[in-house]
């Protein structure tokens, strides 16, 4: 952490600077290229902005909490295969009840069922995996293998599915920042906001869990029980972001790396809000740049993922994994 513009600012001021920048990005997103059609543009863009903020917040929170649980800076739920698991669950659901049946379920109902399955599966699978967490190399490998495994089962099921039903899933398999479902946006927003409030209310406990299992137990934290709760929250957040926009593999890592760089301290009281502001601000700024300024609709996900991927490699090779 070398010399930096933010180094001289107090932590609350850093948050304020980041929030101001994010608000500017949001204003630009809402107003640029509107051609005076305010009555149409504002509600339309408003719900899209809400979806982007919700998505970025879920990715940010799930990544920060996951990194706290695993005491490292390089693993994220996406890298460990959480997103792939959610898509597998989604696909299995289409397979079980058929594409027509799936398409006719109320999106809120669909999301509820999927996130319940997701939480159960994440607790069963990752509760076990996390015990080996002190070995970063093994964890990255495990995540890679789980991801490949989930994706191959998904594509196997895809092949078994009637081609006409296949298009239902196709949409769900890629991150898309363009078409957002209004109902789903609201429900994931409420869920993500609730997770944020809860996590902020236990910020001290998260600080202590970041010290590792033994230190946390020594300070009276029931580490195993708290880990389960946090894994469930991570599963819910990943369900939210994946259902709303789709899977992203490296965005969380990019957010986490930037938050650590700009905030410095590990205190969750500052780290959690910073990660949400940075994640949402960056996403909205990129979306504004690509959609409004450059008129490139589809590149946002690709560019953000590429930068995130490079961050992953940099962290891996500079060994800043803790």
């Amino acid at each position: 952490m070398g010399g930096h513009v933010m180094d001289n600012l107090s932590l609350p001021s850093r948050l304020a600077v980041l929030a101001t920048l994010a608000v500017f990005a949001l204003l630009a997103f809402m107003t640029l290229e509107s051609r005076g059609n305010w009555g149409f543009v504002l509600p339309f863009r408003g719900i899209k902005a809400l979806a982007l903020i919700t998505f970025a917040t879920s990715v940010a929170l799930s990544t920060m909490v996951f990194q706290t649980l695993t005491a490292n800076r390089i693993l994220t739920p996406s890298i460990m295969g959480f997103d792939a698991l959610y898509i597998l669950i989604q696909t299995s659901l289409v397979f079980t009840i058929g594409g027509v049946g799936y398409a006719s379920i109320d999106p809120v109902m669909k999301f509820t069922v999927e996130s319940v399955f997701m939480t159960a599966a994440a607790l069963a699978l990752f509760g076990m995996v996390l015990r080996g967490v002190h070995d970063i190399g093994r964890m990255v490998l495990t995540g890679l293998i789980l991801g490949v495994l989930f994706r191959s089962i998904t594509s196997l099921i895809n092949r078994l599915i009637d081609p006409s039903e296949f298009s239902v899933i196709q949409q769900a398999n890629f991150a898309s920042f363009n078409a957002v479902n209004v109902e789903l946006t609201w429900i994931t927003f409420v869920l993500t906001a609730a997770c944020f409030v809860w996590l902020m209310s236990i910020h001290k406990r998260l600080d202590i869990m970041a010290l590792g299992r033994d230190a946390a137990k020594g300070l009276g934290v029931d580490y195993e029980r708290e880990t389960k709760k946090l894994l469930a929250v991570i599963a819910l957040l990943v369900s939210s972001s994946t259902a709303l926009i789709g899977p992203v593999y490296f965005y969380g890592l990019l957010i986490a790396a930037l938050s650590h760089k700009l905030i410095g301290t590990w205190r969750h009281q500052y780290l959690l809000p910073a990660s949400c502001i940075i994640g949402a601000g960056l996403l909205i700024a990129s979306q504004t740049l690509f959609e409004r300024v450059l008129s490139l609709q589809t590149s946002v996900a690709v560019v953000i993922e590429a930068i995130g991927g490079i961050t992953f490699l940099l962290l891996l090779f500079t060994r800043k994994t803790r």
């Binding site: 590792g212 300070l219 009276g220 934290v221 301290t265």
Partner: protein, 250 residues
Amino acid sequence: MIEVRNLAVAFDGTKILRNMTLSLPKGKLTGIVGPNGAGKSTLLTAMGRLTPIHSGEILFDGFPIGDIATASLAKRLSIFRQSTPITPRLSVRDLISFGRYPHTQGRPTGADLLIIEQAIARLDLSEFADRYLDTLSGGQRQRALLGMVLAQTGDVVLLDEPLNNLDITHARTVMRVAREEIEMGRTVAIVLHDLSIAANHCDHVIALKDGQLHSSGKPEYVLTNEGLSDLYNTKVDVAEIEGRRVILTV
């Protein structure tokens, strides 16, 4: 205060501790000595409930330690571990304030802040209080971790090799702090490799060898030529210089 009865601890089927029966006398400073791998850290972590027990029991004020809720045990027992793998990016004061967490759940009162500042001062950390731990030397960081354990104000304080990495001045500081804890009515157990320090500072000594209790009692009874030579399988001499007992290992 803490009583260990017939304790066995096993890893992967191998018994690391066997037939261990001992106690930490209440209100006394107990030194724990013995060769590397004797099981000192395992004994301490078992007492702190960080290592599961295979058989036997550990009683805290007469209650099996496993029956006490994690949160209430943390108010009464603090443990300093030999190795802490994680260097968090926190200031020294942040870390030390975590010691109050069992009592405050993150909402410290004025009294808690006072305890935190006292812990900082007692370990000579005032000039580093606002520095991040990852910018400190190993010894300074270790004192910060000790500060956290002090701030926890347990009735029983378990310290695993707290003097490693410390220069002689700070080693003295830590031993003085341990004595202050005793004067406040606490019970302290401290794993030591420096036998002269054990001989001169401790009220009681427990010697472990090969996962078993080798000997225990007053320092002058345990730390003798014959006892130590047998404990370490090497010739050790005990001399007296200006009224202080010095263990010669050269």
